[in-house]
Symmetry: C2
Subunit: 242 residues, 2 copies
Amino acid sequence: MGELRIIPVTGIGEINRADDLAGMICDAVTQMGEQILDRDVLVVTQKIVSKAEGAMEQVDPSDPLSHKPLVERESVRIVRRRGDLIISETKHGFVCANAGIDLSNVESGWAALLPDDPDRSARRIRDGVRGRCGADTAVIVSDTFGRTWRRGVTDVAIGSAGITAVLDLRGSRDAYGRELQVTEVAIVDEIAGAADLVMGKATGVPVAIVRGVDESAFISERAARSSVAADLVRKPSEDLFR
Amino acid sequence: MGELRIIPVTGIGEINRADDLAGMICDAVTQMGEQILDRDVLVVTQKIVSKAEGAMEQVDPSDPLSHKPLVERESVRIVRRRGDLIISETKHGFVCANAGIDLSNVESGWAALLPDDPDRSARRIRDGVRGRCGADTAVIVSDTFGRTWRRGVTDVAIGSAGITAVLDLRGSRDAYGRELQVTEVAIVDEIAGAADLVMGKATGVPVAIVRGVDESAFISERAARSSVAADLVRKPSEDLFR
């Protein structure tokens, strides 16, 4: 494996409903004097995807809890509740705080919901970028989730296209020739978290290019079948914490 | 924020008890024609730290479950159990499978335990690298953990030194001037996961250099006080899932 580069994409500007995200990303990269290449992974934050798709709802800007009814509406099941904090399961199968709804980096009086189908959002951006720049990329839609047992949030993948979301190493052997015990690596989550390191939460960088991900993630028959919903969301029957 | 580079460190070779990890890392980087720079983050996998510290135990190589008594011994509390799978809390406060004990990438007949104090391990490597190469780095000791609700494993930080483990953005404002709701970002976990993208599980690359992490992570008064144990392990009283 070689070196990995993570390049923040600057200059994308404000996103409005029905904006052509793929086109705006291609333009911004060109403006930077960069190029999008085959096998680049474009990590796009959920917030601009939700804005472009109109996944927004009006809330009372004077009430910091005015989005809580939306949280109940967007939840299929409440997993834990403590004070104002709600950990719930969304229709996508994600378990996260406030059903993924938040108020930061959106206009006052609005709340951003999760995209209806983040894998589809990723596929659309991927197809758009291919049409516009000709590059055969992968796309990850990222969001910021908390975790059990560990403080702090990290960015994870809520949608993906063109990449194997969970790399299955079954049959691989370690340096001693022994079959690996840990066989499934959630590389799209590692890539989403890596991209956050150049995005920050306050800097207004909503896209990053991750270049140099190992080619095994792009084996086309596997990557074409893979998505966050298909491979990364754990079935309730497999889950010890639901 | 600028670009981030993640450089795999190759050529480290087999690690034995009492080996000088810092020296071996400096030598390998020099052999590569690279240099370790101030504010580089060195991510070092738990496996080589445990080997160098002798945190190894003999097990019966013919019995794939022979490390299970060690798992019970190294656990302070069993959190969940299903079949052979044990999710438990370690003395460090980590909640993970098999108390972090595993058999891959170690010689047959041996199991690697977690280091006694992974933050101390990180500090030692950091001090050693400074003594040897003069560079003021940060060091993260990484390990591979599963997660609730999401399939696949990712690499996370189990020890750190010289870096603010959890970046507190309280008081920061978003692009709309609103105070951020999500205030604590577990950047050492994002960095550990990012480094795994150049390490793989089967390639024998146990160290990576992450270059270009935002300078806010290195503000010295904060970074000096920070560690995984101090900042990242969630107290049981704050935890909804223990």
